[in-house]
């Protein structure tokens, strides 16, 4: 996270900021228009989860590299209530709130890599990556 961007997430306005910053970074890295929209949409979902389910947290945006592969890495973390059953939360249309229950499984589909770490009472960290086509 040396050159990364950090966006504090507390309100719906921060969700817009996070996805706009993510779109701008994706453009700088060289992602296409479609890919930038895909990345911004995934950021919107996981940032919204912070506001809706954990009240506050942060989104970190950065370049990433693996061999010849270059891409964008997005980390969303909070110290909220955590997710007691992650496997269940990853199912389509599962929501403990009034949401559509598509944020986590949908973001996983939008990105190339998706990891979620969560423990009840400890908070949640979602890490997602998208790679540039070689």
């Amino acid at each position: 996270m040396d050159n990364g961007i950090r966006v504090t997430i507390r309100s719906d306005m921060d969700i817009v900021t996070a996805r706009e910053q993510g779109r701008a970074l994706a453009e700088k890295i060289g992602f296409s228009q479609v890919e930038r929209t895909v990345i911004a949409t995934a950021i919107s979902e996981i940032a919204r989860n912070i506001v809706e389910h954990a009240q506050e947290g942060e989104v970190l945006l950065d370049h990433c590299q693996h061999g010849a592969k270059r891409g964008i890495q997005i980390t969303a973390r909070d110290k909220g209530p955590g997710i007691p059953d992650v496997a269940r939360a990853m199912q389509d249309e599962y929501s403990t709130g009034k949401g559509l229950g598509l944020g986590l499984p949908g973001s996983k589909r939008l990105m190339d890599e998706f990891e979620i770490q969560s423990e009840k009472g400890q908070g949640t960290t979602v890490t997602m990556r998208k790679w540039m086509p070689l």
Binding site: M13, I15, G103, G106
Partner: protein, 120 residues
């Protein structure tokens, strides 16, 4: 940013100008509901051409706008979903369900004319 709503004959046109926060979307829902009553509108067009992201909250709110306006006697049509936005929506798993969509304002108006027989 509050979405401007114009009256055109029997219809309302809400032209989204820039990225919307969740609060802006809920405000749009309130404003449309109020204006449909005020002008006795038969239909509403929500132009989302300027939206560069449609996430699950936006979709949920647009669905609920359409359902609510139907209860108020008006049809809703969403116009201007950009191709890359549509692509991301599909990947995310989002659908507008039974909410009508059209390519642009012109087609949206044609849809409403047809649905409401010119508002007569």
């Amino acid at each position: 940013m509050r979405v401007p709503i114009h009256k055109q004959g029997y219809y309302l046109i809400a032209a989204i100008q820039a990225a919307l926060t969740d609060a802006d979307l809920l405000q749009l829902q309130d404003d449309l509901s109020g204006k449909v009553g005020q002008y006795r509108s038969k239909g509403a067009i929500v132009d989302v051409t300027a939206l560069d992201v449609m996430d699950s909250f936006a979709v949920r709110t647009l669905r609920s706008i359409a359902h609510m306006l139907r209860l108020r006697g008006a049809e809703t049509v969403i116009v201007g979903i950009q191709p890359e936005v549509a692509f991301a929506m599909v990947q995310l798993g989002l659908t507008l369900e039974d909410v009508a969509t059209a390519l642009d304002l012109e087609e949206g108006l044609a849809y409403l004319e047809d649905k409401t027989k010119g508002g007569a």
